[in-house]
Amino acid sequence: MLQGVNRKIGLILALLSIGYLYMSYQLPTYPYIPVDADAVPKTLGWVLLVLSVALFFSKDSDSEEQKAKRRIPKKDVKALLGVGALLLIYIMLFETLGFIIMTVLFVYFCSWFLGYKNHIVNAIVSIVFPIALYSIFVFMLQIKLPQGILPF
């Protein structure tokens, strides 16, 4: 029953629209308002449900080139997950350690992880860009970025 990518995506979207519709019907309504806060969400929920059913029954008409995009080699999956993990660490420690420290470390290790082996250029780029950006934002645009454990 769930053979074919359109069927799987159609089903996921249909479940999503049902969830969205359920929440839309929970929204409070008020008298004397011609169109309440729930009207547009309810409409969108029903439209998505209809479209999901249409997708479920439609043929996979994607080109071969597009279908090839769905197959990701294992080493690329690892690289994507690695970058994702580095991003998560960056976000988690961003406010604690501060913008400069985290960004320098992120740019350096992300480039290194993705295979850039010129350590000197990598170090220069990962120090110069974050410091330059920090200076632009904090001193020129007066937008405060987390300084973390650094005194400036």
Binding site: I33, V35, V40, P41, L48, D62, A79, L80, V125
Partner: protein
């Protein structure tokens, strides 16, 4: 203020030293990002938005507009040199540009692209100057029903004109609209889909969506292609000189396709990509020697290049005069206006003539800068293509993260950015077009507002949408733009069967 005074004010802004500096900065960044395969104008504009915080809105928008048309201008370089278009609007330029480069005439191809782009850009700015104020003066009488119908047309047109399945494009638009409903409803104060989180009360910032769906998703593909080198970009490009015959051959397609590109740019849903393809096909149809197309034809390169740049200026007509974007890229431009506290639309020309005319006037200077950047300096600028991918990936991620944090000061938004990056990547993987998503997200709130205003005026009667001639015509066009591709696909299947 009259039109002449307005134009003079615009040129005053454009010719001030700050105006010149920010146009130069915008077109340079645009050329740079547009040239890099994978990163498009939406990412370019979204990445630049945080830099404009606190800036004078006029100068900021002059710069952002420069980033947009600079990206379309610069996108052709990688199409010609690498056969890897920097942006989708320059895919058609690779059909004849790349074969020309392979024949050892890369310099000539780059010169044709630059001159055609310049001509297309400049002709269309003149047309923009004429049509934007005309449309603005008509749109001033538009009421909420007409606005609602206009936005509906924008959404159905972009969904039906998107590449691939219409159902997927419509799903993309509906989900984008759904995301726009998150947060406090401005009319009743009801919290919608906030899951009790304080962070979602204000809704999701458009920059989170734009950077997530485009920049982060594009970075995922760069990660997968991280070992690809820009072979060919470092090679000798040969002479940039064009012969008299080349110039003669170019003039016809450039003139015709600039006009066509401009018109297609104005239409909702079309834009640079569709304009470039239609112009390429149109020029091939009327050519005396159509067999030369695809083998390094001068006409085959000049036509899409003039057209895609003309479409870029054309897209500014509905954005500036109606306040309604017709494409994903102009939707992000509208987001930039809103971030800077400005609302484009029919009132902009009267209320803020320096912004309205300043942006238009700066395009003349921007096009001249682009010609200089893309002709004598192109051999040097093309070296940008040799930037190691790992460094590029890290820096784009850094710009995206800082951009989002600087607008909301919230770590929660950084997690959201990551989540939308994953969604954007999955959408590309399964061929769901992202431009309808961002357009629906930006238009969603405005559409709901116009709809509810219309219903309040009519005391809840939906017939108000069909009573006004303008809204009636626009709704009929929306239905047709939605029904036509479906009918066409059923018809072609029947024919094939």
């Amino acid at each position: 203020m009259g039109a002449i005074e307005g134009i003079l004010t615009g040129f005053e802004v454009a010719f001030s030293w700050e105006g010149i500096l920010f146009v130069l900065l915008g077109v340079f960044v645009g050329t740079f990002i547009g040239m890099l395969p994978g990163l498009g104008p939406i990412s370019a504009i979204a990445i630049m938005i945080p830099i404009t915080y606190g800036m004078d809105p006029t100068l900021a928008l002059v710069m952002m507009a420069g980033v947009y048309y600079g990206a379309v201008f610069g996108g052709s370089t990688s199409s010609i040199l690498l056969n890897a278009p920097g942006i989708s609007g320059t895919v058609a330029s690779s059909f004849d540009g790349y074969p020309m480069a392979q024949q050892g005439k890369a310099g000539k191809a780059l010169a044709i692209a630059a001159i055609s782009s310049f001509a297309g850009g400049t002709i269309s700015v003149v047309l923009l100057m004429i049509f934007a104020p005309m449309l603005a003066s008509v749109a001033i009488s538009f009421g909420p029903p007409a606005y609602f119908a206009l936005m509906l047309l924008g959404l159905t047109a972009i969904a039906s004109l998107s590449e691939g399945s219409t159902i997927k494009a419509l799903i993309s638009a509906v989900v984008g609209f759904m995301i726009a409903t998150i947060g406090i409803d401005p009319q009743t104060g009801t919290g919608r889909f906030t899951f009790g989180s304080m962070n979602l009360l204000d809704g999701i910032d458009f920059l989170v969506i734009a950077l997530g769906l485009f920049a982060i998703a594009e970075v995922c593909y760069l990660v997968m292609n991280r070992h690809k080198t820009a072979a060919g970009s470092g090679k000798e490009i040969g002479s940039l000189k064009l012969s008299k015959d080349d110039a003669k051959e170019m003039s016809g397609p450039v003139g015709r396709q600039s006009l066509l590109g401009f018109i297609l740019g104005i239409l909702p849903g079309a834009g640079a990509t569709i304009a470039s393809f239609i112009s390429y096909i149109a020029e091939k149809r009327i050519a005396k020697k159509p067999e030369e197309f695809g083998k390094g034809s001068v006409k085959g390169l000049a036509a899409p290049e003039a057209s895609n740049n003309a479409a870029t200026s054309g897209a500014f007509v509905p954005l500036l005069s109606l306040g309604i974007p017709g494409s994903g890229t102009t939707a992000v431009m509208l987001g930039a206006f809103l971030v800077l506290g400005l609302q484009p639309g029919p009132m902009l020309m009267g209320d803020r003539p320096e912004v309205f005319w300043g942006i238009i006037a700066s395009m003349y200077i921007g096009n001249i800068f682009l010609l200089v950047l893309n002709l004598p300096l192109i051999p040097y600028i093309a070296r940008i293509l040799t930037i190691p991918r790992p460094l590029l990936i890290s820096l784009v991620l850094m710009f995206s993260l800082i951009g989002v944090y600087a607008i909301s000061f919230s770590v929660f938004d950084l997690y959201l950015l990551l989540a939308f990056g994953v969604i954007g990547f999955l959408m590309r993987m399964f061929a769901f077009p992202a431009p309808p998503f961002i357009l629906a997200f930006i238009l969603g709130g405005m559409m709901e507002k116009s709809f509810r205003q219309s219903m309040t005026i009519s005391n809840g009667s939906i017939s108000i949408l069909f009573e006004n001639n303008i809204s009636l015509v626009l709704i009929i066009l929306s239905v047709l733009s939605f029904a036509f591709p479906i009918a066409n696909s059923i018809w072609s299947k029947k024919k094939a069967g």
